[in-house]
């Protein structure tokens, strides 16, 4: 069996360059020769070998002890009391035990192979990547035979109808995604409107107590929800409604406010209300600086200037925060003059 001596023989034969194309290289790559074997301390000195053996079994015993410790720690540091310190101790000591057990096991195994086991170098020749010519011909014949006998290439109508059936079998899975959208409702419309309607009172988050204009002092920032939201239960879409309707209420000196004529009646005596949902990717924007009147979004550092209609002054947000038009009712409570006049939050397909 000649190929047992050189398994790469037929592969080498296939590498033969064509005489017309071959370029003679003056410094061809040399085969790296096997470096001379270097004896380790453990090979030369029996005392060193003894030490290495001792280290290895000590590590294994240490791992054993750590495993036993982890079991003991489970009993010694119970978490039944529920106290935070007990939970921490339980996690810490069991974790240390298991961690040390696995680490010592691994270190011992590696040290064993490196220092104690034989480390003689030898060359293991890899398998040939290229099959023998006879094998390659046989494989090609197998394909041709299969095609011939099944008629896959010949009977195009069978083949094409099967491909169509396979492709169609995926379609039901894709259609199921439609079930993630709100039932019976247009998702675009849902994104465009919030809970705010004309006359809806502004209320404290989370209690839902309404806010009087007189209660909002200069420099305040009040976190606001629609009054009706506080009565919603979590099973009735509380979070979905809140995520869209959250508003930040701020009071500035009226002369500091720089309002456009069409929004002149959207504020009340220096009190302005803006959507808290960032127009970039929808993080809650509520880092309000009462001296600079800047609002900062903590996620991507978009900054909005509340004194100038929440215009974007820095960062990736594409447009100003939507303003909630407000006024007061007969009892002095702040109410919405209307809902938001534009969709809140980040861009979506129908809005850019």
């Amino acid at each position: 069996m000649a190929h047992e001596d050189d398994p790469l023989e037929h592969e080498r034969a296939s590498w033969k360059p064509s005489p017309g194309v071959a370029v003679a290289v003056s410094d061809p790559v040399q085969s790296p020769v096997l470096a001379p074997h270097r004896e380790r301390m453990t090979d030369k000195d029996p005392a060193a070998m003894k030490r290495a053996v001792r280290t290895v079994y000590t590590l294994f015993y240490l791992s054993l002890a750590a495993s036993i410790w982890a079991i003991a720690a489970y009993m010694l540091f119970p978490i039944e009391s529920g106290a935070i310190v007990d939970i921490r101790n339980n996690n810490l000591f069991i974790g240390l035990g298991i961690g040390l057990a696995l680490l010592a096991l691994g270190l011992g195994a590696i040290h064993w192979t490196k220092a104690v086991m034989s480390d003689k170098e030898f060359i293991q020749v890899r398998h040939a990547t290229r099959g023998r010519d006879s094998t390659r011909t046989a494989a090609a014949w197998a394909f041709a035979d299969g095609d011939q006998e099944s008629g896959f290439g010949r009977r195009a109508i069978i083949r094409n109808s099967m491909i169509a059936a396979v492709v169609a079998s995926v379609a039901p899975g894709i259609v199921l995604f439609r079930g993630l959208a709100p039932e019976g409702e247009n998702p675009v419309a849902l994104l465009e409107e919030t809970m705010w309607t004309e006359g809806m009172r502004l209320a404290h988050d989370p209690e839902g107590t309404p806010i009087r204009a007189a209660d909002v002092t200069l420099g305040s920032a009040v976190h606001v929800i629609p009054e009706a939201l506080a009565e919603l239960d979590h099973s009735e879409g509380y979070l979905e409604a809140k995520a869209k309707a959250i508003v930040l209420l701020m009071r500035l000196l009226p002369e500091d406010l720089n309002e456009t004529p069409e929004r002149a009646d959207w504020s009340y005596d220096g009190i302005v209300a803006y959507s808290k949902v960032c127009t970039h990717v929808g993080c809650p924007v509520a880092l309000y600086e009462q001296q600079t009147h800047h609002l900062l979004c903590p996620c991507h550092q978009s900054q909005f200037d509340v004194a100038n209609g929440a215009a974007v002054i820095f960062g990736p947000a594409a447009r100003p925060l939507p303003q909630l038009p407000i006024t007061i009712d007969d009892e002095g409570y702040l109410v919405a003059r209307s809902g938001f006049t534009e969709p809140v939050g980040p861009s979506f397909w129908e809005r850019h």
Binding site: R40, M41, V85, T217, L296
Partner: protein, 266 residues
């Protein structure tokens, strides 16, 4: 030996003499300075024991604050008017070391307190007597016996976006920041909510009632007094510090072990 005796007879000093002289001089200067400052400290200590009046507060104010805030609290180009800020704001600014301001910067930082509590209270009483404003709360508000869970919810809604959900503080714009609250006293938590120092919004008693404030203070005191259940908190800054830690020490450790595994044994 012979050379040394020759040198001495020439009247030349050893090369170490200069160094020794400087050392002795430094020791004496330092010793005298330390003694003198200790004596001064002892002197100021005795001065504090006597209660200070509004009149003392006025003098302290004129000497230390009036340059920027004006002799009549009217303010100037370098400092705001103090009309209506109230004694609570003065106590907060002075007793946390924010005032007197050391340098103009985006934000007045906390620094070693420049006045004793009595002096701060005397200045606060003076400012309150000139133009009243928010005043000290009832004992009960600061006792930390409120509803911790409700306080934590209110903290998450109203405060956590700037001060971090674990009250570890956080960055604002252009060098400003919300400070960490791990060392803040309950009075100063209350004062900050009521007076809105610097860029912090005001949370008056109608936005957050006295009961709300008591709950928030209770939850912050609970955080201060309870160890982190997760061991190393890494500053409670979340993914930034945790990611940095795991990339440096976790991945670094893996690389070190990989190098050890592939290195040949000696």
């Amino acid at each position: 030996m012979a050379r040394e005796t020759k040198r001495r007879s020439n009247g030349r000093r050893s090369p170490w003499a200069a160094a020794a002289l400087i050392g002795i001089g430094l020791l004496i200067t330092g010793g005298v300075y330390a003694g003198a400052s200790a004596a001064m400290a002892a002197g100021s200590e005795t001065a504090v024991t006597s209660a200070l009046t509004v009149e003392d507060g006025k003098k302290l104010f004129q000497a230390n604050c009036a340059t920027c805030h004006g002799l009549d609290l009217q303010g100037s180009e370098t400092g705001p008017s103090l009309y209506g800020v109230g004694e609570l704001a003065v106590e907060f600014q002075v007793a946390t070391g924010r005032m007197p301001l050391q340098a103009t910067a985006p934000q007045a930082p906390q620094k070693p307190v420049q006045f004793t509590e009595e002096q701060a209270l005397a200045m606060a009483a003076y400012v309150q007597s000139m133009a009243p404003g928010p005043t000290f709360p009832k004992e009960e508000t600061l006792d930390g016996e409120g509803d911790v869970a409700r306080g934590a919810e209110l903290f998450r809604i109203n405060c956590a976006m700037c001060h971090n959900v674990a009250a570890a503080g956080g960055a604002l714009t252009e060098g400003k920041y919300a400070p960490a609250l791990g060392q803040t006293s309950s009075l100063h938590m209350y004062a900050a909510m009521v007076t809105g120092p610097q860029n912090m919004p005001v949370f008056n008693d109608l936005t957050l009632t006295a009961e709300d404030k008591r709950d928030i203070i209770s939850s912050l005191l609970f955080l201060q007094n309870n160890e982190s259940p997760g061991g190393f908190s890494l500053g409670n800054l979340g993914p930034v510090s945790e990611g940095l830690f795991i990339w440096i020490f976790g991945v670094g450790g893996l690389i070190a072990i990989t190098v050890w595994i592939t290195a040949k044994s000696n």
